[in-house]
């Protein structure tokens, strides 16, 4: 009976994406209002696109590897997750390029992005406030 209940619970969770996964948004400093596409974000987070259009360096901020929100972000943007990107970052390190910096909470990401006009990060949509600007919302 307990097994059946657990299975039903899992089924319910699986049927309702809102319960299973938080929705995320990508944020920048309020001074940067231009929207970003998924392709642009992929290039930014792979350090292939390194400068904003005004010539300032982009500072992408990741959540820590293994966090739920990072998995959601990577699946949406790269269609793959951190373990698949290990080889990519090893090869970039060989050329002196490092992965984006990480912070371990939405609050930290939001505070950092709000303080740096060149930063871009992602947080749960529920955590957005006026200190940051939303530049991308997944479909």
């Amino acid at each position: 009976m307990r097994t059946l209940s657990f299975a039903l619970l899992l089924l319910l969770l699986g049927c309702d994406p809102a319960l299973a996964e938080p929705s995320l948004v990508v944020i920048t400093h309020p001074s940067r209002s231009a929207q970003l596409s998924a392709g642009e974000l992929a290039r930014i987070y792979l350090k292939k696109k390194r400068f904003w259009k005004d010539g300032k360096p982009i500072v992408p901020i990741n959540r820590e590897a293994g966090s739920t929100i990072r998995d959601i972000f990577e699946r949406d943007i790269f269609d793959r997750v951190s373990p698949d990107l290990v080889g990519y970052w090893n090869r970039r390190y060989f050329h002196g390029v490092f992965p984006p910096a990480t912070l371990e909470s939405d609050e930290a990401v939001k505070r950092y992005v709000a303080s740096d006009p060149n930063a871009v990060g992602y947080i749960a949509s529920d955590d957005v406030d006026d200190s940051v600007h939303v530049v991308y919302t997944p479909d």
Partner: protein
């Protein structure tokens, strides 16, 4: 000479110390945990899922991230590198264990646009075979790469110094921790000089989908390798195009002068990555303007993740060397075990359809790590 000797020893010690540190490293709080949530300055770089730690020195805080180097405070200076140990048993020859490589990276981000990179490499430090022969007959110490980069924007970056010649894909990621096999396809090292000492312009166009490199060597090469093709002067161009998610195509042209003869090389290549699969292929054709004739070759390689950290690898290569009576067919079958994100153990067997002075059939294995 004496200074070089001391530099070699210092490099070797630092490389081995960082290798040992990387191997020993226990699980410690991540960089982000160290940094906490008090974010008032740019957060530190973090290895992707790797653990890290910090210690304070008299000069600056030091943070070491396995596979991502030793970061010296917020100076922008990072020390890193890689090392590898090979075990090779060619058919009909004794098995030989070689401390094949210790390379030290010195990376310095001088400003947002200006950076310095060097790779000091010590090759074939020591080897011993099953006949008891030991030593380091082919040891070599050299600046494998030494350059500065200046980025104007995403469309234009200027590099000056000694760098890896951007022909195909393997040559620019040839380090043992980064490739799937201990052996290297002939087509990625025989036809051209693996390094260029000169200037390169690079950038990305069309929203990052098209990458280009324009490069040239107008002076003698800095510390040229003793073996292989050597270019006195060269000029070339490379284009890469991201045609679909995970699929990139490339094309290269290089003209180079070697032993007073000009050669023209063209190459095409492709890389496809999707989930647990990676497919890579390269082909080059080159011809001398004099009496040297032509040569061409191609390989195709597939790596597939079959278990969480285990990859099966297969490669076929055909190489028709200049002046050879017939082309060489090679098959490599093997496996790679990614023990950690920064450490890899590889085993493989190489089969040839006939003997060749360029390579040998037999067993190869290596352990390599980034530090």
């Amino acid at each position: 000479m004496k200074e070089s000797y001391h530099l070699v020893k210092a490099t070797l010690k630092l490389g081995l110390a960082l290798s040992a540190l990387t191997l020993w490293w226990p699980g410690t709080p991540s960089m982000a945990q160290v940094a906490g949530d008090d974010v008032t300055h740019p957060p530190p770089v973090e290895g992707d899922g790797s653990t890290a730690t910090r210690c304070e020195s008299a000069c600056a805080s030091l943070s070491y991230i396995p596979g991502r180097g030793l970061h010296i405070g917020e100076t922008g200076l990072v020390l890193g590198g890689y090392s590898s140990i090979d075990l090779v048993r060619d058919e009909g020859a004794p098995a030989r264990l070689t401390l094949a490589n210790v390379s030290l990276f010195v990376m310095f981000q001088l400003s947002e646009r200006f950076s310095f990179f060097s790779e000091i490499e010590y090759e074939n430090l020591f080897s011993i075979d099953t006949n008891g022969d030991a030593g380091s007959p082919d040891e070599r110490f050299a600046a494998e790469r030494l350059y500065v980069d200046f980025s104007f924007n995403d469309r234009l970056e200027v590099r000056a110094g000694k760098f890896l010649t951007p022909v195909g894909r393997w040559n620019v990621i040839h380090a043992q921790p980064l490739v799937w096999t201990t052996s290297r396809p002939l087509v990625t090292e025989v036809p051209f000089d693996k390094n260029t000492t000169g200037v390169m312009l690079s950038g990305n166009l069309f929203d990052g989908r098209l990458g280009y490199d324009l490069f040239g060597q107008f002076t003698d090469e800095l510390q040229a390798a003793p073996h292989g093709t050597r270019a006195d002067r060269s000029g070339g161009a490379r284009l890469t195009l991201d045609v679909a998610p995970g699929l990139s195509l490339g094309g290269t042209y290089v003209g180079f002068r070697s032993r007073n003869e000009w050669f023209h090389l063209v190459g095409i290549d492709a890389l496809w990555q999707r989930g647990p699969l990676e497919w890579m292929t390269e082909m080059t054709f080159d011809e001398g303007a004099g009496a040297s004739g032509s040569q061409w070759g191609a390989y195709t390689q597939l790596a597939a993740r079959i278990l969480p950290r285990v990859y099966a690898v297969g490669r076929y290569e055909y190489f028709a060397a200049r002046g050879a009576n017939r082309g060489l067919n090679q098959v490599v079958l093997g496996a790679a075990f990614r023990l950690r994100p920064y450490a890899i153990f590889k085993v493989e067997y190489q089969i040839l359809d006939h003997s060749s002075p360029l390579t040998s059939a037999g067993f190869r294995s290596s352990f390599a790590l980034l530090f």
